[in-house]
Amino acid sequence: MNETVPRIPEALELPTARLRARREHLLRELERTAERPRRRGRGTLVAALAGVLIVAGGAGAATGVLPVGTELPLPGASGDGEPRYRSHRVVVATGTAAESGRWEMTFVESDAGPCVGLRLLDRVPPGAARPDLHEGCGDSGTLTAGRVGGGDWGGRPEFLVHGRAPEDAEHVRLVAADGVVVTTSTHEGPSDVPGDFYLVATPPGLRDAHVSWIDRNGTLHGPGAPVPGTIDYSGRPETPSRPR
């Protein structure tokens, strides 16, 4: 126990009878899960779906959106300068943007901090065999903002500002210098991934944009995270996500 850390009261233990009841309840619940036909392991599902993704992408066909909670296998080895990942990449949110089409947001822990990625499924960049993943990593801030879009893959330009928000965030609000204000609801993501996630589709040309989050009581928490510069569609972000 460090001296600078205040002592906390020695918590009283859970009374034996209540502990026993919780134990019995837990075992009953495990029994219930054992009785249910076991679903395919997530890892198996992931491998299968990822295989489909790559094959379909290679053929230039549209790919399906993976369900939230799907784990994506990581590449065997990281390249120079790439973070080392500590877990599987997990799909944390999906949706469809007006111009950019279907998107899939991912999360993975790395030695460079948490990484939030975005994959556009309907917009394969010129020359690319499959939808590419844009990922920004930074130490665990509670509100991050990355930006994807504006590339020349066709369609009207649109930027997708996205990132991670605190668990208590119900909405995220983007405010730009030219008076643009966009508010969006957060996505909860899988239960074992901390925090919520958001995506705001905006027109190009935003200046000095930043995002803030709003809790369920309507309180705005600021001043917010600045939205970084444009991220090109060739792979690596110009500016990593900025943690707050």
Binding site: N2, V5, I8, P15, L26, E167
Partner: protein, 184 residues
């Protein structure tokens, strides 16, 4: 590591109280901590194939995520918790109510400045200083390198000391002025 239900019962027997204490110290609410304890073990069962040898750090790592996203965790397991017998689902602390109220008040006083810290600092202080995990165990629980635990702990302790000093300063400013006794 526990892979079948009988093993899992043993895991619960060995660590349920420690998980409960950890949840209680993080959330400061008896009944929520009790439900979260159940959720931690339900989540542990779901992830048992990914379990590692250090049982308690593994469970406390799950508990850390469950506490961070407690609303979602409770909602996810609402059906299972709804099947708790009524007498377990509602708290009954009559036996030692006074002691619990007193402990809850003390805990609340500590948690106010504690919660002003970044979550990553809260996690390492709770695991290392309150639960007694060593750096290696805390690193395993959080899935970060040992060096990260050390640096977060150092920064977290400094930040907590500053927050406590601030709180103390505010308290003394809010305290009523001491009235001097008139000279006899």
């Amino acid at each position: 590591m526990a892979t079948d239900q009988q093993d899992f019962a043993g895991l619960f027997d060995r660590h349920a109280q420690a998980v409960y204490r950890y949840c209680l110290r993080r959330v400061g609410d008896w009944s929520v901590a009790e439900d979260l304890t159940s959720v931690v073990f339900l989540e542990a069962w779901r992830r048992r194939e990914a379990a590692f040898a250090m049982e308690l750090p593994w469970l406390l790592g799950i508990a850390t995520n469950v506490v961070r996203s407690q609303r979602r965790s409770l909602r996810r397991h609402a059906a299972a918790l709804g099947r708790l017998p009524v007498e377990v689902g509602s708290p009954d602390f009559i036996d030692d109510l006074a002691a619990r109220v007193d402990a809850e008040r003390q805990l609340a006083e500590v948690l106010v400045p504690f919660r002003r810290l970044p979550v990553k600092h809260q996690d390492v202080i709770a695991l290392c200083d309150w639960e007694g995990l060593d750096y290696r165990e805390a690193a395993a629980a959080l899935g970060v390198p040992v060096g990260t635990v050390r640096s977060r702990l150092s920064r977290g302790r400094s930040a907590l000391a500053a927050a406590l000093a601030d709180a103390e300063c505010t308290r003394s400013q809010l305290a009523p002025p001491i009235r001097e006794e008139p000279a006899a």
